[in-house]
Amino acid sequence: MLNSINPTMKAVTIFVPGLLLAFVFDPFTPFVYLIFTIAMTFLLSDLSLKRWLLIFTPFVFVALSFSWMTMLYSSDTFSDGRILFSFWWFEVTEGALMVALSLGLRSLCLVALSLMFVLTTDSTKFMLSLMQQAKLPPKLTFGILAGYRFLPTFKHEMEVLRQAHKIRGVGRAKGIKGRIQQFRRYAIPLLANAIRKAERVAVAMESKGFTGSTERSHYHKMTVRKRDWVFLSAFVFVFFATVFASYMFGYLNIFGRQF
């Protein structure tokens, strides 16, 4: 079901709570929303839990590292409450711990939302939907799609370059200066080739009668249906419900102001 939601609508669905979460500085709200997002991800799609965990787990460590820094260097607004423990020159207060937890959970929440999008969206369909629903100019859309299709060939070109260097006796670089030289030897030809490709694609598009007019027909028609709206409103609704619940329990904290 997640796979068949209109990609643009799905992107908006992830945008809105993602932005609103930035206002909240208590651990409760992002925690509840994180659970909700993960539950929705697995209820509405047949993603394998193993694959999801493989991608998600590294971010737990990222979140921990961010929390750690926040806890040690939290601003005065948040470092109130009694001191929990101190070491070296750091003093960790209750408030600092709470805001650290909140920011860590927030970043995990954003990752979970993103994964829900990334793992269930076909990239071509996303571009086509951006053109048809978000009114992205066709010139740009097809330019990006063409570039996207070139990605696998870059890997091949890289290999060719490497072999060309090898056969001419240019070995691996040593030292910083050598590294910079090596970077230049690879980056400039690769980019130059990309630019040549861009030129060829543009000529090919024009010669096949592509005008870039928005009054065009589409082979793959992307539509927004009722359930796309239901999906969007459900996510926004649950966000506000969570905020309300956290207000009722007395946890809610918006930019350091306790409610």
């Binding site: 992107a11 945008f15 993602g18 932005l19 930035a22 500085f25 590294p58 460590f61 990222v62 590292s65 961010f66 750690w68 820094m69 926040t70 040690l72 260097y73 939290s74 601003s75 005065d76 948040f78 750091f90 805001v99 909140s102 920011l103 970043s107 954003l110 990752v111 939302l113 993103s114 999008f117 990334v118 793992l119 990239s123 996303f126 571009m127 010139k139 740009l140 330019g143 990006i144 063409a146 570039g147 996207y148 070139f150 990605l151 870059f154 230049r184 400039i188 690769l190 980019l191 130059a192 990309a194 630019i195 040549r196 861009a198 030129e199 694609v201 543009a202 598009m205 870039g212 930019f255």
Partner: protein
């Protein structure tokens, strides 16, 4: 110079966006490595601040090569979109980040009415992108919870990174590309050609 975009310029911009989208994603993982080294000291996020400038480089390169209004803004947004397409864990929110960073660079070019593209303008564009992205990061990552000195240190590191890795490196790469001759039909290549002819005569 006319301000209307030609199809070949649009396609070039798209493809540069695609190429750098991939590079950005690689740096994302590189930054994660740096961060793991710094994390025990509670300085993890500095791993990203040091290399943050690289994420603005496509706006500098594209604006410098094509020299049309919107080049910096749109190319950066495309690069962000591509990262989403390849599957960056940062997700669609990244498109907004890209838009804001591109806007930061675009503002500087707009201030020169898209006429001046010398080194100082390019460096300034890199710094401006850093400032814009920092304000955005302050909001979305909750820097408000960090102490002022820490936020200030992060801000300064990011600005320097923007100046060097986006402004300076971006100009260097574009000049190297112009040297190969592939840019002949774009603004930078034309300027290059004119200079060469002047030298010859």
């Amino acid at each position: 110079m006319s301000n209307a975009w030609k199809l070949r310029e649009i396609v070039l911009m798209s493809i540069l966006g695609v190429v750098f989208g991939v590079i950005y994603l690689m740096f994302y993982f590189f930054g994660q490595g740096l961060r793991n080294v710094l994390a025990p000291f509670g300085l993890g996020p500095f791993g990203y601040e040091v290399i943050f400038g690289i994420w603005f480089i496509v706006s500098i390169i594209t604006a410098y090569i094509i020299r049309k209004p919107g080049a910096a803004l749109i190319s950066e947004t495309i690069a962000a979109t591509i990262q989403v397409l390849i599957g960056s864990p940062a997700g669609p929110r990244l498109i907004l980040s890209g838009l804001i960073q591109g806007l930061g660079a675009e503002v500087v070019f707009a201030a020169t009415r898209w006429k001046n593209y010398n080194l100082s303008v390019l460096v300034l564009a890199g710094v401006s992108a850093a400032i814009f992205s920092f304000v955005w990061g302050w909001f979305i990552s909750g820097f408000a919870a960090l102490s002022t000195s820490m936020v200030l240190a992060m801000f300064i590191v990011r600005c320097i990174s923007g100046a060097l890795l986006a402004g300076l490196l971006g100009k260097w790469i574009s000049d190297q590309l112009a040297n190969t001759g592939v840019l002949r039909s774009y603004a930078l290549g034309k300027e290059w050609q004119a200079k060469r002819e002047q030298k010859a005569s």
